[in-house]
C-alpha cells in the first residue's frame, strides 16, 4: 500500500509536468530529475490530495459530481462519468478535477484576493446555441431551399408551357396551310425584308402570340392572323387560370381595299362580347346605337347577339350559308365585326377630344375561341378549319354585298351626322388652337422687330405690322356690314 502511495504522487507529478512547464519554462531544463522536480514544485505539499483520489474512487468528491450534473457537452460528461466509475488511473488524467480537490483542502488564508474557483464552477454552465449558419446542417436553410425549389418549378413550367404553345401553333398552321396557300399568294411575312417574300411559317412575337400575314388575293389588301394563346409559360398565369379559366383565341383581321366594301357597320357575337364591344369600339358606339339584338330572329343560337347599323345590313350579311356556318360553330365564335369605319378602340385623350377624326379602314374582324378552355390539344386545331372557310367566304360575300338606294342614303346620312357631331365637339378646341396660333405669330413678329438692330429698319417693320393690323380690322368691319345687309 505504501508503495502505491509513493507511486501515485510520482505519476501525478508526471502529469503536472506539462502544466508547470508551460508556466515555468525558464526555470526548468528538459533533462531534470523527477525527484528534484518533485521537491521543487509548488504542488509538493498537495500530496495528500493524490492519496484521497487513489484510495476512495467510489466516494467521488461533491465538486466533481457537480459538473456532470450541468448541461455540459457530451465529451466532458463521459470523461467525468468514467472517472467516477473507473477510479484509480483515470482519476489522474483530468488535472482539472485534481485541482478542484487540491483547492478545497488548502488553507483559504493563503490565497487572499483570489476567487474560489470552485464557486464559479458550482454556477450553472450556460451553453449558448450555436448560430444557425455555423451549424453543419442544411436543415436551417429550409427557406432558401424552398425559394430555389420554387424557381426551379417556374423554369420547368416555362419550358413545358413554351413547348405546348409552340406545338399548338404548329398544329394550327399545318391544318390551315393548304387552305391559305391556295387562297393567298403570300403566306407569312415577318416584315423584316423590304420585298414581300413569302416565308411560309408563323412569326413568333412572344412565347404565347404567333402572327401570320397573308396577302395577295383579290378583294382584300391582306389578312393578319394572330394566334393568341394563354400564357402557359408563366407559372403565375397558370395558377390564375385555375381560378378563372381563359380560352386560347384566334384573331383574324382582314383589311379591304376601298372599292371592295360598301358602307355599313355590323357585328355578331356572344352577348357579353357585343356589350363590351359596343362600349369600347369607336365605330360600333357611333353607328350602332341600339342595344344588341338576339340572334334568334335570324336563326342563330340564343347565346349570340347582333349589332347593326340598319336592318337591311343584317339581312344582307346573314344569308343562309353564313347562318349555317355560325350555327354549327357557335361555341367557337367570340365575335365577328364588319365595318367600313373601323378605327380601333375608343382613344381616351387627356386634353379633351382629338382634333382630327381618327383614320378609318375597311375591315373584317373575326375572333374565335379555341375549344378546350385552356386545356387544348393539338388535335383541336383542326376544328377551326371550317371557320377559316367562313372567313374566306365572308371576304367574297362582302365584296358582292351592296346596299340598295335607301340603305345607301341612310348610311351616308349617318356618316355625315357623325362627322358633324365630331366637328361641333371640337369646334371650341379648334378655335382655341387657331387663336393660340395667331398669337404666336404676332409674338414672333414682335420679337423680330425688337431684335432688329438697325433703328431705321425697326421703324419700317413696325409700320408694316401696323398697316397689316389696320387692314384686318377693316376687313372684319366690312364682313359685319355685309352680314347685316344680308340679314336685312
Amino acid at each position: 500500500m505504501r508503495s502505491v502511495y509513493l507511486l501515485l504522487p510520482a505519476l501525478l507529478l508526471l502529469l503536472a509536468l506539462p502544466v508547470s512547464r508551460g508556466r515555468y519554462n525558464d526555470d526548468f531544463d528538459d533533462g531534470e530529475d523527477l525527484a528534484d522536480f518533485a521537491d521543487d514544485n509548488d504542488f509538493a505539499e498537495f500530496e495528500d490530495v493524490s492519496e484521497d483520489t487513489a484510495a476512495e474512487p467510489e466516494t467521488a468528491p461533491p465538486p466533481r459530481g457537480a459538473p456532470p450534473a450541468q448541461p455540459a457537452e457530451d465529451d466532458e460528461d463521459e470523461a467525468t462519468v468514467e472517472l467516477e466509475e473507473d477510479g484509480q488511473e483515470d482519476g489522474f488524467e483530468d488535472s482539472d478535477t485534481q485541482d478542484q480537490d487540491m483547492y478545497s483542502k488548502y488553507d483559504p488564508d493563503e490565497f487572499d484576493g483570489m476567487e474560489k474557483p470552485s464557486q464559479s464552477l458550482k454556477d450553472p454552465l450556460i451553453i449558448h446555441t450555436v448560430p444557425a449558419h455555423l451549424q453543419n446542417s442544411w436543415e436551417s436553410y429550409y427557406m432558401e431551399i424552398l425559394m430555389v425549389t420554387g424557381l426551379l418549378a417556374y423554369i420547368m413550367n416555362y419550358i413545358i408551357g413554351k413547348n405546348k404553345n409552340s406545338r399548338l401553333a404548329t398544329a394550327w398552321f399545318n391544318s390551315h396551310r393548304e387552305l391559305l396557300e391556295s387562297n393567298f399568294a403570300l403566306v407569312g411575312d415577318d416584315g423584316t425584308s423590304k420585298d414581300a417574300v413569302s416565308t411560309g411559317k408563323l412569326n413568333q412575337e412572344n412565347e404565347h402570340i404567333y402572327n401570320l400575314w397573308c396577302s395577295g388575293r383579290v378583294c382584300c389588301e391582306g389578312m393578319l392572323i394572330q394566334l393568341k394563346f394563354v400564357k402557359r409559360q408563366d407559372l403565375l398565369n397558370v395558377l390564375a387560370r385555375m381560378m378563372r379559366p381563359v380560352c386560347d383565341q384566334v384573331q383574324i383581321k382582314v383589311t379591304l381595299n376601298d372599292e371592295d366594301m360598301d358602307t355599313f357597320v355590323f357585328a355578331v357575337g356572344t352577348k357579353k362580347a357585343m356589350a363590351r364591344m359596343q362600349k369600347e369600339m369607336q365605330d360600333l358606339s357611333e353607328f350602332c346605337s341600339d342595344k344588341p339584338k338576339s340572334g334568334a330572329k335570324y336563326g342563330l343560337p340564343e347565346l349570340l347577339a347582333i349589332l347593326t347599323e340598319m336592318g337591311e345590313v343584317t339581312d344582307g350579311v346573314m344569308d343562309s350559308k353564313m347562318v349555317h356556318y355560325i350555327t354549327n360553330h357557335a361555341d367557337k365564335i367570340e365575335s365577328i365585326h364588319f365595318s367600313d369605319q373601323f378605327s380601333g378602340t375608343k382613344v381616351v385623350q387627356e386634353d379633351g377630344q382629338p382634333l382630327k377624326l381618327p383614320e378609318t379602314k375597311k375591315t373584317l374582324l373575326f375572333t374565335f375561341n379555341v375549344p378546350g378552355m385552356g386545356n387544348t390539344s393539338p388535335k383541336d386545331m383542326d376544328t377551326l378549319l371550317p371557320l377559316m372557310n367562313m372567313v374566306i367566304y365572308s371576304i367574297d360575300k362582302v365584296k358582292k354585298l351592296r346596299l340598295n338606294r335607301e340603305g345607301k342614303q341612310k348610311a351616308d346620312k349617318n356618316r355625315a351626322r357623325v362627322e358633324e357631331n365630331f366637328l361641333k365637339q371640337t369646334h371650341n378646341q379648334r378655335q382655341e388652337a387657331a387663336q393660340t396660333r395667331r398669337e404666336e405669330k404676332k409674338r414672333a413678329e414682335k420679337e423680330r422687330i425688337m431684335s432688329e438692330e438697325d433703328p431705321e429698319r425697326q421703324r419700317r417693320l413696325e409700320e408694316a405690322a401696323q398697316r397689316r393690323d389696320q387692314k384686318k380690322i377693316e376687313k372684319k368691319q366690312m364682313k359685319m356690314k355685309q352680314i347685316k345687309v344680308k340679314a336685312m
Binding site: 448560430p131 444557425a132 449558419h133 436551417s140 436553410y141 429550409y142 427557406m143 432558401e144 425559394m147 420554387g150 424557381l151 417556374y154 423554369i155 416555362y158 399568294a185 403570300l186 411575312d189 415577318d190 416584315g191 423590304k194 420585298d195 414581300a196 412569326n203 413568333q204 412575337e205 412572344n206 412565347e207 402570340i209 402572327n211 400575314w213 396577302s215 395577295g216 388575293r217 383579290v218 389588301e221 391582306g222 393578319l224 400564357k231 409559360q233 408563366d234 407559372l235 403565375l236 383589311t255
Partner: protein, 102 residues
C-alpha cells in the same frame, strides 16, 4: 380558283408595321415586373433584406417569361443580374438563413 385576270388584280402587300404600337399597350406585365424587380433588388441591397432580394429574382424571371421577342435582351439580363447580385450580397453580409415572418 385563280385566273390570269385574278393574278393581275392581286397585289402583294407587306406586313403592316402598325402593330408595333399595340403590344406595348395591351400587356404591360413585363415592364411592370422589370421595374418591380429593380426596386426590390435595390431594397434588398440597401436594407439588407433577404426576402426582398429573393422576390426580385422571382420578378425578373416573371418579366422574362412574359417578355416580347422584340424586346431588348440587355434590359432583361441587367435586371436579372441585379437581382442575383442582391441575393448574393445579402448572404455575404449576413450568412444566417432567412427566417420566416411567422
Amino acid at each position: 380558283y385563280r385566273t390570269r385576270q385574278d393574278e393581275d388584280k392581286r397585289r402583294l402587300n407587306c406586313y403592316p408595321p402598325s402593330t408595333e404600337a399595340n403590344p406595348t399597350l395591351e400587356d404591360p406585365t413585363p415592364d411592370y415586373m422589370n421595374l418591380l424587380g429593380m426596386i426590390f433588388s435595390m431594397c434588398g441591397l440597401m436594407l439588407k433584406l433577404k426576402w426582398c432580394a429573393w422576390i426580385a429574382v422571382y420578378c425578373s424571371f416573371i418579366s422574362f417569361a412574359n417578355s416580347r421577342s422584340s424586346e431588348d435582351t440587355k434590359q432583361m439580363m441587367s435586371s436579372f443580374m441585379l437581382s442575383i447580385s442582391a441575393v448574393v450580397m445579402s448572404y455575404l453580409q449576413n450568412p444566417q438563413p432567412m427566417s420566416p415572418p411567422w
